[in-house]
C-alpha cells in the first residue's frame, strides 16, 4: 500500500505506533482495567466480587491444593485432564470435519443433497444436544470427547467444504494436465488452497471446544476445569471459583495463541500473496 507521509514519521508509526509502543499501550490498557476493577471491588465490598489481586494470588493455590481435601494436585487431575479430553475431541472433530467437508466440497451432488441436513444440524446449538450424548455414551470421558468432536466438526466441515469448493478451475486443470495422482492433486493442490478457510474453521472450532469442555464437565463429571468451577460455586468458595474462571480464560488464550502461531506458519504464503 502506498502511503505518503512526512519523511521523519514512518507510516506505521503514524497509524498505530511502533511495535514496542503498541505492546506498551495494550499492556497499559489491561493494567488500567485491572486497577479499576481492584478499586471498584475495594470500594463496594461484596463477597461475590472478590478483589482481582486476591483472585490472581489464589490461582497457585487452586492449581495445587485440592479444594475437596484430597491429596492430589488439581493441575494434574483437572487441568491436564480437561486439556487432554478437549484436544482429543477437538482433533477428532477437526479430522472428521476436514474429511467430510472435503468430500462435500469436491462433490457437488453430495453437497446439494446433504445441504438441508447440514444446515439444520449445524444450527442446533451443540449444548442443546448434550442430553443425547449422555444417553448414547453415558457420563464420562467418552461422552465428553464425542460431544466436543460433534460441536467442533460443524465449523470445520462448513469451512472446509466452502474452501475446497472454491478452488480455482485452473488449478484443478494444472493437476490433471501434469497427471498428478489423485492423492497428490488432493493433498498437494486442493487442501492447501482451501487451507485459509479451513484454518478459519479451526479457530472458531477451538473457541467452541473451550465452551463445550467446560459445559460437559458441569454435568456428572468427577474432575476437570468445568467440574472445579461448578464445585467451588456450589461450596461458595467464591475466590476459588473466580480463580478457576481465570484459569479457564488463560487456558483459552494460550491455546488460541498456539493455534495462531501454527496458522501463521502454515499460511505464510497467504498473507504475502494477498498484498
Amino acid at each position: 500500500m502506498a502511503v505518503t507521509v512526512a519523511v521523519t514519521v514512518p507510516a506505521a508509526a503514524r497509524r498505530h505506533g511502533g511495535p514496542l509502543v503498541r505492546i506498551l499501550l495494550s499492556v497499559g490498557v489491561l493494567v488500567v482495567l485491572v486497577v479499576l476493577w481492584q478499586l471498584a471491588t475495594m470500594t463496594w465490598k461484596s463477597p461475590f466480587f472478590p478483589e482481582p489481586l486476591r483472585i490472581f494470588a489464589n490461582i497457585p493455590k487452586v492449581l495445587t491444593v485440592d479444594s475437596a481435601g484430597g491429596s492430589t494436585s488439581p493441575f494434574f487431575t483437572d487441568v491436564l485432564a480437561s486439556i487432554g479430553r478437549m484436544l482429543a475431541g477437538y482433533v477428532l472433530g477437526c479430522a472428521w470435519g476436514v474429511a467430510a467437508g472435503s468430500v462435500l466440497g469436491r462433490w457437488r451432488a453430495a453437497r446439494d443433497y446433504t445441504s438441508p441436513i447440514v444446515e439444520f444440524l449445524r444450527s442446533v446449538p451443540a449444548t442443546a444436544v448434550l442430553p443425547i450424548f449422555i444417553l448414547l455414551f453415558g457420563l464420562g470421558q467418552g461422552m465428553q470427547i464425542a460431544f466436543i468432536a460433534w460441536g467442533v466438526s460443524w465449523f470445520v466441515l462448513i469451512n472446509t467444504a466452502s474452501g475446497v469448493a472454491s478452488i480455482h478451475k485452473t488449478l484443478i486443470d494444472v493437476g490433471r494436465a501434469f497427471r498428478l495422482s489423485p492423492a497428490k492433486q488432493f493433498f498437494g493442490l486442493v487442501l492447501p488452497s482451501a487451507a485459509p478457510k479451513i484454518f478459519a474453521g479451526l479457530r472458531i472450532g477451538l473457541t467452541a471446544a473451550m465452551i463445550l469442555i467446560v459445559t460437559s464437565e458441569f454435568l456428572g463429571a468427577t474432575n476437570g476445569i468445568g467440574f472445579q468451577l461448578i464445585q467451588t460455586q456450589r461450596r461458595f468458595q467464591l475466590v476459588d471459583m473466580w480463580s478457576w474462571m481465570l484459569v479457564i480464560a488463560i487456558l483459552g488464550y494460550l491455546l488460541n495463541t498456539v493455534l495462531e502461531l501454527i496458522e501463521a506458519r502454515a499460511l505464510r504464503w497467504h498473507a504475502g500473496s494477498r498484498r
Binding site: 480455482h168 490433471r176 494436465a177 488452497s193 500473496s273 498484498r275
Partner: protein, 276 residues
C-alpha cells in the same frame, strides 16, 4: 522396406527417423463439441508435425480454449478424434505439457518458484528434480529466483515460471493457451522471443492459442485461422519466414506484413459476418 500401408504397425522399435517426415505428432479429425444444444466446435481437422510450431488464432469467443482443452485431453470432445503420437487421446498424455493464460492461478502460491517447477516431476530423486528445475529456470532467465514465491514476481516472470515448469516436464508437445494475454506489450514481446528461443533450443512441438494476429504469425510455422462459433478451420497459412526472427526486422518484411494482413482479413470477415 516397410511403407505406410493399411496395416500400419504401432511399434516403438520401428525406425522413427524413417517416419519422421510423414507421421504427425498430433492428428485432429473432425473434432466437434457442444455444450447442450450450443455447438462450439463445428468439425475441425488438422495435423501437427513433430517440431512444428502451430498457432491457432480466431475471433474472441470462437472456442479456442475449448479446442485446446479437447486437444490436451482435459476435456472429452462430443465428436471426432484426437490422436497423439498415433494413440487416441482419452486423458492428458504423459508427453504433453500446458501453459495456462492465468499464471496467477496456475502457480500454487504456497510453493516456491523451485517447488512450482518440481512438483509435477515424478520418478526423479530430489537432487535430480532440483537440477532439472535449475536448468529450466536458467533457460527462461530466472536463475537466482528459486526460493522466491510466485507472488513476489512480476506477471511476466510468473509466466516464465510456468514455462519453466512445462520445460522441466520434458514434453514432446507443448500447449499454450493465450499465455501472454495478460501481460504488458514489452513483456509480451520478450516472452514471445523467449518462446521462439526455447523452441529452437529444445525442438518442442508447440500449439499456441492466441487472439493476437501479429503474435500468431510472428511465432508460428503455420497459422490456423478459426471461424467464429461454431468454430471451423477457415484456413491454414504457412509462415515460411526463416528463424531466428526479430521483433523489429521480421515484422518489417513484406512477407510478414502480407501474412499478417491475410490473417487479419480472414478474422475481420468473421466479425463482419457476425455483425451482419
Amino acid at each position: 522396406m516397410p511403407g505406410p500401408a493399411d496395416d500400419f504397425p504401432h511399434d516403438d522399435n520401428l525406425d522413427t527417423e524413417y517416419f519422421m517426415t510423414d507421421t504427425p505428432l498430433l492428428q485432429v479429425t473432425d473434432l466437434t463439441h457442444s455444450y447442450g444444444s450450443h455447438l462450439i466446435l463445428g468439425g475441425i481437422s488438422f495435423d501437427v508435425m513433430p517440431g512444428e510450431f502451430v498457432s491457432i488464432v480466431g475471433p474472441s469467443g470462437a472456442g479456442k480454449t475449448t479446442l485446446l482443452r479437447a486437444l490436451s485431453g482435459l476435456m472429452m470432445p462430443s465428436g471426432g478424434s484426437v490422436r497423439f503420437d498415433g494413440e487416441p487421446v482419452t486423458g492428458v498424455p504423459a508427453a504433453m505439457a500446458m501453459v495456462f493464460q492465468d499464471y496467477s492461478r496456475s502457480l500454487p502460491p504456497w510453493l516456491s518458484v523451485e517447488k512450482n517447477v518440481t512438483f509435477p516431476l515424478t520418478g526423479l530423486s530430489k537432487a535430480e528434480a532440483r537440477d532439472r528445475a535449475h536448468e529450466s529456470l536458467a533457460a527462461v532467465g530466472l536463475l537466482g529466483h528459486e526460493s522466491k514465491y510466485p507472488w513476489e514476481l512480476s506477471g511476466g516472470m510468473q509466466q516464465r515460471v510456468a514455462i519453466a515448469r512445462a520445460l522441466a516436464y520434458r514434453p514432446r508437445l507443448l500447449l499454450m493457451d493465450e499465455p501472454f494475454a495478460s501481460v504488458d506489450a514489452q513483456t509480451r514481446a520478450d516472452l514471445e522471443d523467449l518462446v521462439l528461443n526455447l523452441k529452437q533450443q529444445f525442438d518442442i512441438t508447440t500449439v499456441f492459442v492466441t487472439h493476437d494476429i501479429e503474435e500468431s504469425v510472428y511465432l508460428a510455422d503455420r497459422v490456423l485461422v478459426l471461424s467464429k462459433s461454431p468454430a471451423l478451420l477457415v484456413e491454414a497459412i504457412d509462415v515460411p519466414i526463416p528463424m531466428p526472427r526479430d521483433q523489429i526486422t521480421t515484422k518489417e518484411l513484406d512477407e510478414f506484413v502480407h501474412l499478417r494482413g491475410r490473417v487479419a482479413r480472414l478474422i475481420r470477415a468473421q466479425s463482419d459476418s457476425a455483425a451482419a
